[in-house]
Each structure stands twice: as C-alpha cells, then as structure tokens.
C-alpha cells in the first residue's frame, strides 16, 4: 500500500464494515467550485438590473460583450493551454505584435491581406512557444516569459517604436462592421468560443488535452504524443492572440506595440475564476466565459454605480484569490 489514500473497496469485500452513507450532495466542495461562479454571476446580473436603470439596456449589454472580445478570445485559447498542463505568458505580447503586423501590412499590401497575414503570424509565434515547451521541454513559464520579451521587441522593431495609423479606408470599417445589430468582432468572439468548446468536448484532440494535463504519464502510456498536443495548444493560443490583436487594431485604426500587457494576467484571472484548475486536467470553455463575464459585470456595475476604480481593483484581486483558494481546497478534499 503506497499511500494512505488507497483504501479498500467496500463492495468487493462483503465481510467488511458496511460502506458509509454518502455525504449529502450540498456539502461537497467540488459542487461549490463547479457552480458557485455561475450562481454568483446570475445573482450579480439580477442585482445590477434592479439597482441601475442603465444596466439592462441593449446598448449596455452589447457593450459589455464587445469589450470582452479581445480578452475572451485569448482566454478561451488560454483555457486549452491551462487544461493541457501548460501556461502561456506571451499572449499579451503576441496580441500587440499581431495588431502591429496587421496595421503595417494593411498600409503596404492592402486591408484584407494585412488582417489575414497579421492573424496567421500568430501560428508562427505559437509554434515557437510550442516547440520550446513541447519538444525541448522548457518550462512553459520560462519559455513564454522569454518569448514574450522577444515578441515585444519585434513589435517595437516593426512599428519603429511609434503608432502605426492605418491610412487605408476599410481597415476601420472592418473593425466596426455590424451584422444583425451586433458588431462583427462580437460574432467572431462567439464563433471562436464555440469552436474551442467543440474542440475540447467533442474531439480526440480535446480528450488528449485533458489527458496531458491530468496525467502526463498515463497519456504517454496510452500512445498520446504529449509534446505534440502541447505544441498544438500553443499554436492555437498564438493564433487567438493575433486574431484578437488584429481585430482590436482594426477597431481603433491603429497598430500599437504597447497594448495588451494586462491581457495575459486578466485571461488567467477569467479562467481561474471560472473554475478551471490551474494545475491542468480539469476545466471547460463555458467556465471561462462565465468567469469572464463575472469579472466584466463587476467592472460594469462599479462604473454604473459610480464606484471609484481603485476599489474595483481590490475587489477583483480578492475574487481571484478566493477562486484559487476554492480550487486548492477542493483538491485537498478529494484525495
């Protein structure tokens, strides 16, 4: 018997003491972790609707969603990375770089070329991270911390350390196009989130992602190429970052190498608050979406109610701490 956690099986040993009655479902900590954010988000939504007349309006709600586009796309891809047992600290830098490349190429080659190539560049950046982590087995924290510095530098080089204003018309038009009364960027976010959810829940690759993060050795012994899976996850993360970056640049009509620094950690915050385990192997896209909007609603509520931004920061940080604490506690309970 290797650990105390190994216990005998009650149903297979009829002579043994009768198994304990299962604990009532509402005392299970995992349940708290599983659905508490969802509940809190719903409650917050109701409270804000009741206290602020300007909250429950189409403009405000669409605005909230649209403001989350960049962060949401990155956090959805980041969910895959974290479930696979890795971490991507370079998303903010890739985001800025994607915007800069898109803007620069839009000026030189044309608007559609700029946007498409700006987005595709993310594949290359992600692949660099993926090869470093998946094949050279460099610790993901260090690998992406280092690559973030490189990508940040590339952004400065390409933009020549200044804002790139896109002169061609069409760049900004693309960023503010609406479809059925909703911004195209919002539609892209929704489509991307659905694609990531589908990938995670319904495909072989999704299963492999969970297995690699949940038990790397078991995955390897099942014939899963763990390094390959991790590499692909980073490619997706890189692509998501440039997608978000290019959309943002198109929105404001400017490529700016200094944006996105806060995105990296905000994405982790949304993922963790949603209940995806920071240790890998557990989590879901819907959780990240819930976490994202929970934090966004707090933000929006504070604005509508006129609370000082200083307090927002304190509250947000506390929420993240509590979420991570619940995760740690839930893990200890289920040993």
């Amino acid at each position: 018997m290797s650990t105390g956690g190994e216990v005998l099986a009650p149903e297979a040993a009829p002579a043994a003491a009768q198994p304990a009655p299962p604990r009532p479902w509402w005392t299970r900590v995992s349940l708290l972790r599983d659905y508490s954010v969802l509940l809190a988000t719903v409650v917050l939504f109701i409270v804000l609707s009741a206290t602020s007349s300007s909250f429950l309006t189409k403009t405000n709600l669409l605005n909230i969603v649209d403001q989350q586009t960049s962060l949401g796309i990155i956090a959805c891809a980041g969910t895959l990375v974290i479930i696979a047992g890795a971490f991507d600290l370079s998303v903010g830098a890739i985001y800025a770089l994607g915007g800069v490349i898109a803007a620069q190429l839009a000026n030189h080659l044309g608007v559609p070329e700029g946007i498409i190539l700006g987005i595709l560049a993310g594949v290359v950046f992600g692949l660099i991270n993926g090869v470093a982590v998946g094949f050279f087995r460099i610790n993901p924290f260090i690998a992406t911390l280092a690559s973030a510095i490189v990508f940040g530098g590339l952004g400065l080089i390409i933009s020549n350390d200044s804002l790139i204003t896109v002169t061609k018309t069409g760049f900004q038009t693309f960023g503010s196009t609406e479809f059925l009364g909703v911004r195209l960027t919002t539609w892209i976010f929704i489509a991307f989130a659905l694609a990531m959810g589908l990938l995670l829940q319904w495909t072989k690759f999704g299963r492999y992602i969970y297995a690699c993060g949940g038990n790397e050795e078991a995955a390897r012994l099942s014939g899963v190429r763990v390094g390959m899976v991790r590499a692909w996850v980073f490619v997706i993360s890189g692509l998501a970052s440039t997608l978000a970056g290019a959309l943002f640049a198109a929105r404001v009509g400017v490529g700016d190498s200094s944006v996105g620094t806060a995105l990296t950690l905000s994405a982790v915050a949304a993922i963790v608050v949603g209940g995806t385990s920071i240790w890998g192997g557990e989590g879901a896209i819907w959780r990240t979406i819930v976490g994202l909007f929970f934090l966004a609603l707090i933000d929006n509520g504070f604005n509508l109610l006129g609370v000082d931004a200083k307090y927002q920061q304190v509250v947000q940080g506390t929420i993240i701490l509590v979420a991570a604490g619940v995760d740690a506690y839930a893990r200890r309970q289920r040993r």
Binding site: A9, A13, P21, L221
Partner: protein, 501 residues
C-alpha cells in the same frame, strides 16, 4: 513495560470507506511493534495516525497515559514522534548533514550554529551505529543510505518514537539485514519503533509485538515470539491461502509464439534478455524489487532506451515508443495506476477510450454513441457496473480503478498484455476477480506477461516463471506446480535463499 502510546477506539474514514474501524492497541515503551496486514488493511493509515499525519475521525491517543490531539506532523514531532515514510522525504540536492539537521537547526541571531549541529549529528550517528559522509549529497546515495539519513534525522530530532512505513521494500536482503540491526539497536537504546511491513519474516525477526489488521479492523496483537508467519497470514487473510487462485489451464504445447524479444539490454545490465510468450500463455516474471522486472516491461512497451529485437506474430517490429507498441498489439497495465495508468480526475469513459480514440473518430470528432456502447460493453466484461459507477475515476475503489484500467486495454483485444503489479492496492475480493479475468483472457488466446512482487501471485497464475536478477533472466521454471522455494532460491542466488521474504 508500560505503554508508551495507547490508541483507544480509533476510526478513520476516507470518503465513503472506513479505513480504520474502532482500533484499540497499546504500544510498549522501548519495543518494536509490528503492524501487518494486506494491502488496504489500514496499516499505513494507522501508522500515519500515530505519527500525526492523519487526524482520526473518532477515538483518542494517549501518550504516556495522557490524551494527545495532534492535528499535524509538527505537533507529533514536538512530542518526539517521527514518521519515516515509504517515499523518503529528503532534499536530494542538499548534503547528508543538512538533511539530518533539517527542522532542528540551532541558530543564534538567525545564523546557523554548525558546532552544535555537528554535535547532534555525531550523536545521532553514534546512536545508530553507522557513519555516512556528512558532506555527501543525498541524491547520490543509495536508497538504503537515504533510509539511514531519515533515521539519523529522526534521532537528531530527539525522537522517542519512530514510525517506519515499509522501510525495507526497496532494500536488498543484505541491506535489509543491516537496517534490522539498526532498528534493534535503537529499540535497545529506549526508542519505541512502530514497524509497518508486509514482509512477515522481517517483522517476526525484529518485532516484540505484532498487530494484525484486516479490512481496517484489529484482528489481534500477539508477542512475536509466540506466533509464526503462517498464523499471521491466516489472521491477515481470514482464511487459508489455498484455493484463492483459479484453476490453471495450460496452453497447448504447440501454441504459436505471439511475442518474441531477443537481446533486450536493460540499463546497467551486463547481458541481454531473450524471451518469448505463446498464445494463451501466462508468463510470470519473478524477482526481487530492483531486479529489473518493471524495467523489462517498460522496455517491451517502448519506454526504455534499450537495444533489442522484437517479433510480434513472427513479424519484426520496432518498439521504440508506446505508440508503436500499441500499434503492434501490445498493451500494458503499468505498475502505478494512480501515477501512470489513469487520468484520475476524468470520467471512466475518457480513461477507457484514451488509447483507442481513433476507433470512434471521423475527422477528429468522436462519435459519442459508438463510444458509449463500446465502453458499456467492455466495462461489463471486466465487471464494473457502469450505472453505479459514474463520475471521475478518482472516486472509485482501488479494485474498480484497476478494472477500468483493464477495460482500457481490452477495448481493442491486444495480442500481448503486460500486467505489472495488477493487484497492487486492491483488496482480497477484487484480487480474485482480477485473477479470474487474467485466466479468462489467456484462455481466449491472449499472451500475458505478469509481474508481481507477491511471489504467490506469480506462482498461482503463471504457466511458466522467468526469474530475474540484476537486470537479467537468470532462471526459468515451468509446469503446473512451481515451488516458491525454488523461485526464491533463483531470485536471491542460491546461497541467500534463507533470507527469502
């Protein structure tokens, strides 16, 4: 002798399982008290409660007659009770000296006082009767020497009681003998020892009293001098050993060779290994811990960098990764299902199909209906009630986890099944079910390589036993009745046969 520590009505529950049920025992001062029982009987749990690693759910502990309630190891440590775990808790990159003094450093104004520490170190070395180079890095020591470092640490912490959990599991017979010497010496010096082990001969040779646990309950506590290994086994199992294995059905002698390996060179071995397994045959691999059994299994599954040629059904095959091994029709149940076998926090379904998702995939998407049907079928085959057992694998009993692992590989009937310790951490009833399953699979024509550190298990199931020592197969025994003595004689090298565990 008065009782140093007394346990009264101690119970401990893990989730829905009662791991310890109303245990009351007294441990004499300055003696060696053995805790024996099968895997899952609760002996490690009890050891951990004594050492403050676990908190009992009910009952109390009396230390020298006074009730103590320690909730964590620190508090037990303050009372002079230390725990030497099966997995040693040393800092490999630091020296022996630092490891020994870890947690009992003396400082003045925050600076270490090495002089005082050195005194303590020397004192510990003297109490234990051996010397180790204090500057040596612990990571470079053998397991046996690391164990000594743990003991020195316990002494340096002024331990009055040391709980040792399976201290000899990773040691050679010679090292074991040395360790038992040390244990006797410590006890003679007044330290109370709790000795958790499943090696009965060692327990009988070193302990004053022996407590037998079965299914979390206290069966008996007897002076070691008045009992025998056979009596202990009967008490542990609750019935005679005979009849606990299914009847052997020998494979036909002209049965074709399914798997053949030649010249497999394990790390540190001086010569290669040749072996072959026939259709329907169970080949047992016996040998002591460290003899290379697990390494051989890993090599056959593409997990060790080892030279060697492999033939599956007569076709030459490269087995340099698990992917290739799986493609060749080889399956492996790894030694540790928790660390290597299962993704504990995922559902049964995901675990069962992980290695064979291609079967349910079209363009990367999983056809859930097909998957559900196949999983239900294979779970029924291994005897897991998929209706009652939902949710994540982590919530299953050890026996059911092992069955899920079987199901995973039976999903795509392999030609060769390598089962490394298939009944580890599984209780008696579930063990028998796994034996039946292995025999059934062989009867259906699967070739099986079985590894177990319980020699009885290998003898009870295998048609042929290959005995390993120092990374090589040093003997082979076959026939329906292979004796344990014979196997152990080969495993130890004949002269040491008397030390057989």
């Amino acid at each position: 002798m008065s009782a140093f520590l007394e346990l009264r009505d101690v119970s401990k529950r893990f989730g829905g399982v009662l791991a310890l049920d109303d245990i009351s025992i007294a441990i004499a001062r300055g003696g060696v008290h053995g805790l024996v029982g099968e895997n899952g009987a609760g002996k490690s749990t009890l050891g951990k409660i004594i050492a403050g690693e676990y908190k009992p759910d009910a009952g109390e502990l009396l230390l020298e007659g006074e009730a103590v309630h320690y909730a964590r190891p620190r508090e037990a440590l303050a009372q002079g009770i230390t725990y030497v775990a099966q997995e040693l808790s040393l800092v490999p990159a630091r020296s022996v000296f630092e490891n020994v003094l870890l947690g009992s450093e003396r400082t003045r104004f925050g600076f270490l006082r090495d002089g005082l520490a050195r005194e303590r170190y020397d004192e510990a070395a003297e109490r234990l009767g051996f010397g180790l180079d204090p500057r040596m890095l612990v990571g470079r020591l053998s397991v046996a020497d690391q164990q000594k470092v743990e003991l020195m640490r316990a002494i340096a912490r002024r331990a009055r009681m040391i709980v040792m959990d399976e201290p000899t599991a990773a040691l050679s017979p010679h090292e074991t003998e040395r360790l038992l010497e040390v244990v006797r010496r410590l006890a003679a010096g007044g330290t109370t020892i709790v000795f958790v082990s499943h090696f009965l001969r060692e327990v009988l040779s070193v302990c004053d009293d022996v407590t037998v646990l079965k299914d979390g309950r206290h069966v008996m506590t007897v002076p070691a001098a008045t009992t025998t290994a056979d009596q202990l086994v009967v008490a542990m199992i609750g019935r005679q050993l005979e009849g606990s294995y299914p009847e052997k059905q020998m494979p036909a002698s002209d049965s074709p060779i399914v798997f053949k390996a030649s010249g497999v060179r394990l790390p540190r071995a001086t010569a290669g290994i040749d072996l072959e397994v026939r259709r329907g045959e169970i080949l047992g691999l016996a040998g002591l811990v460290g003899s290379g059994r697990t390494e051989l299994c890993r090599a056959l599954f593409g997990l060790e960098r080892s030279a060697g040629e492999f033939h599956v059904d007569g076709e030459p095959r490269s087995l340099s990764s698990p992917r290739e091994a799986i493609a060749a029709g080889i399956a492996m149940l790894p030694e540790s299902r928790r660390d290597q076998g299962l993704v504990m926090r995922r559902p049964i379904r995901d675990n069962v199909t992980l290695a064979h998702l291609d079967r349910f995939g079209a363009g990367g998407f999983i056809r859930r209906g097909d998957e559900r049907a196949a999983v239900g079928e294979v779970l029924a085959q291994v005897g897991v009630d998929s209706g009652r057992n939902q949710g994540n694998v982590v919530n299953l009993s050890g026996g059911n986890q092992q069955r899920v692992l079987f199901a995973k590989w039976l999903l795509d009937t392999p030609k060769l099944l390598i089962a490394d310790e298939p009944t580890r951490g599984v209780d008696v009833g579930a063990k028998r079910a796994i034996y039946d399953l292995l025999v059934q699979l062989a009867a259906k024509g699967m070739a099986i390589i079985l590894v177990s550190s319980e020699v009885e298990e290998v003898l009870g199931l295998a048609h042929r036993v290959a005995v390993m020592r120092h990374g090589q197969i040093v003997g082979e025994l076959r026939g329906p009745d292979i004796g344990k003595e014979a196997v152990m004689r080969v495993a130890f090298g004949s002269d040491a046969a008397s030390a057989a565990a």
